[in-house]
């Protein structure tokens, strides 16, 4: 008689599940959860729980990312001297162009986004909207540029202050590794625009 080996079931603690719920499900305008929310929901040792969650998510190519609340443009809600962060769950690796297109972003839009971030970062985080639009229009055309910049503002990748200066938005702080992007831009060598009916027509059809 052979004995079938028992399947080992992984048991996750309630705290771990609660942490996953808090970080995955969006409750307000911005996804993720803040330090005080996590402390209320998970207790004092929430950082240990988040570290455990990070370990679990690692296998799925996801990670728990911590971003300073002030850099996201949110108001500080913690006690004086206490650090305030917002925690997100984000992709640990990167997307391929095909995957990015399937998630609804055109290659043109991603290129425009890279150009915007590159210029804003090189100008220490703020840039005039007109200058930004001129740069994007060079690649995407004048009409599409207006829509694109508005889209980036609406989705939280960019923010515009009362003086009309454009800066990086909360989503960029949470999602984009600016250091890597600037490094790639600095090391880049320009190449001619590829000519391909398949790709271009595909772009036009989206």
């Amino acid at each position: 008689m052979t004995v079938e080996p028992r399947k080992e079931e992984t048991v996750y603690s309630d705290r771990l599940k609660r942490a996953a719920h808090m970080l995955f499900f969006k409750r307000g305008k911005i996804p993720g959860a803040r330090t005080w929310e996590l402390r209320t929901g998970l207790g004092k040792g929430f950082q240990k729980t988040l570290s455990d969650l990070d370990d679990v998510l690692k296998d799925l190519d996801l990670e728990v990312k911590r971003v300073e609340v002030q850099s996201l443009g949110e108001t500080q809600a913690s006690l004086e001297g206490e650090e305030d962060y917002r925690y997100f769950v984000r992709l640990k690796g990167t997307l391929t162009p095909k995957e990015a297109r399937m998630s609804g972003w055109r290659i043109d839009n991603l290129a425009a986004m890279a150009a915007c971030f590159g210029l804003i970062v090189s100008k220490q985080g703020k840039c005039e909207r007109k200058e930004l639009e001129e740069l994007v229009a060079h690649k995407a055309g004048r009409w599409r540029t207006l829509t694109l910049v508005d889209t980036f503002l609406r989705t939280g990748y960019l923010e515009e202050d009362e003086e009309g200066l454009v800066k990086l938005g909360w989503r960029t702080r949470a999602e984009v590794d600016l250091q890597a992007l600037m490094m790639l831009l600095a090391e880049s060598k320009p190449e001619a625009e590829p000519v391909g009916v398949e790709e271009e027509a595909d772009q036009a059809a989206i």
Binding site: P97, M113, A115, S122, E191, A201
Partner: protein, 262 residues
């Protein structure tokens, strides 16, 4: 150099400092454009000539402006010491020189999208519940439009979808390729084809569709468009020729109703 101490000159000097500081704050100039010690020397020089309240206010604005510029200089130095630093002009040049494909690839290599799942919250559930309660029944709403008896369900095939315009018979690429071939065959003698004679079709909808496809042929370098007076001529290229120099131009061509065949 000794500066004139008349009130006008004091006001002019202070206003210049305030204006320069404001321009720097608005990112029009580099923060290092302002010589802080020189600006402070000017303020000190005029300190004894400030008699009226508005002069003192202007002096205060100048000092605050200089302080803010010093703050910007400090943050720029801190910024330059990190690897995020790239000279703005150099960055602009690089960005303009890179292809869209390269830029998109760089972005994808540094992009880690955040996961976010929408969920129902109590206020939304309450709102939805109220809406559901207040909503009239389907039959009551339908009754208002006087639509008569229900039709029994029927089938809707791919052919129907195509004829109703909900689905394309051919892919965009195939249609573009087909039109390019047609243009090449009609321009066999080496001369171009008159735009309207090529675009005009049996019905207006088809004319608009062909005009749209022609715009793609021209944008992607499959054909050239030349304007000779009122005449617009299309010349096909054997292989796509993309213009990489200069900025692209838009050339709107209105399609009047009279261009539709009678």
């Amino acid at each position: 150099m000794k500066r004139g101490s008349s009130r006008t000159s004091v006001k002019k000097d202070l206003e210049e400092i305030v204006q320069t500081c404001n321009s720097i704050e608005n990112r029009q100039f580099s923060p290092f454009l302002l010589d802080v010690s020189e600006a402070l020397r000017i303020l000190r020089l005029h300190a004894g000539d400030l008699n009226r309240l508005e002069d003192h206010l202007l002096d205060m604005r100048a000092i605050t402006g200089i302080a803010r510029v010093v703050g910007l200089q400090s943050s720029q130095l801190r910024f330059q010491s990190t690897s995020l630093f790239l000279d703005p002009e150099l960055a602009k040049q690089k960005l303009e020189g890179l292809s869209r494909q390269q830029l998109a690839e760089f972005f994808l290599l540094s992009w880690h999208p955040v996961t976010e799942l929408e969920q129902l919250v109590m206020p939304a559930v309450k709102e939805a519940s109220e809406y559901w309660k207040k909503m009239l029944s389907f039959f009551e709403r339908r009754g208002k439009f006087d639509l008569g008896q229900f039709d029994s369900p029927g089938t809707f095939g791919l052919g129907d979808l195509g004829s109703s315009g909900m689905m394309e018979d051919q892919s965009f690429t195939e249609r573009l390729q087909g039109l390019w071939n047609e243009l090449k065959s009609r321009a066999k003698s080496g001369e171009g084809v008159e735009y309207w004679s090529f675009v005009r079709s049996q019905d207006f909808r088809e004319t608009v569709s062909r005009a749209q496809l022609v715009s793609f042929l021209v944008s992607y370098g499959y054909a050239n468009m030349d304007k000779n007076g009122d005449r617009i001529v299309l010349t096909p290229n054997e292989t796509p020729v993309l213009q990489t120099e200069g900025s692209p131009h838009s050339f709107p061509i209105p399609i009047p109703w009279e261009k539709a065949p009678a």
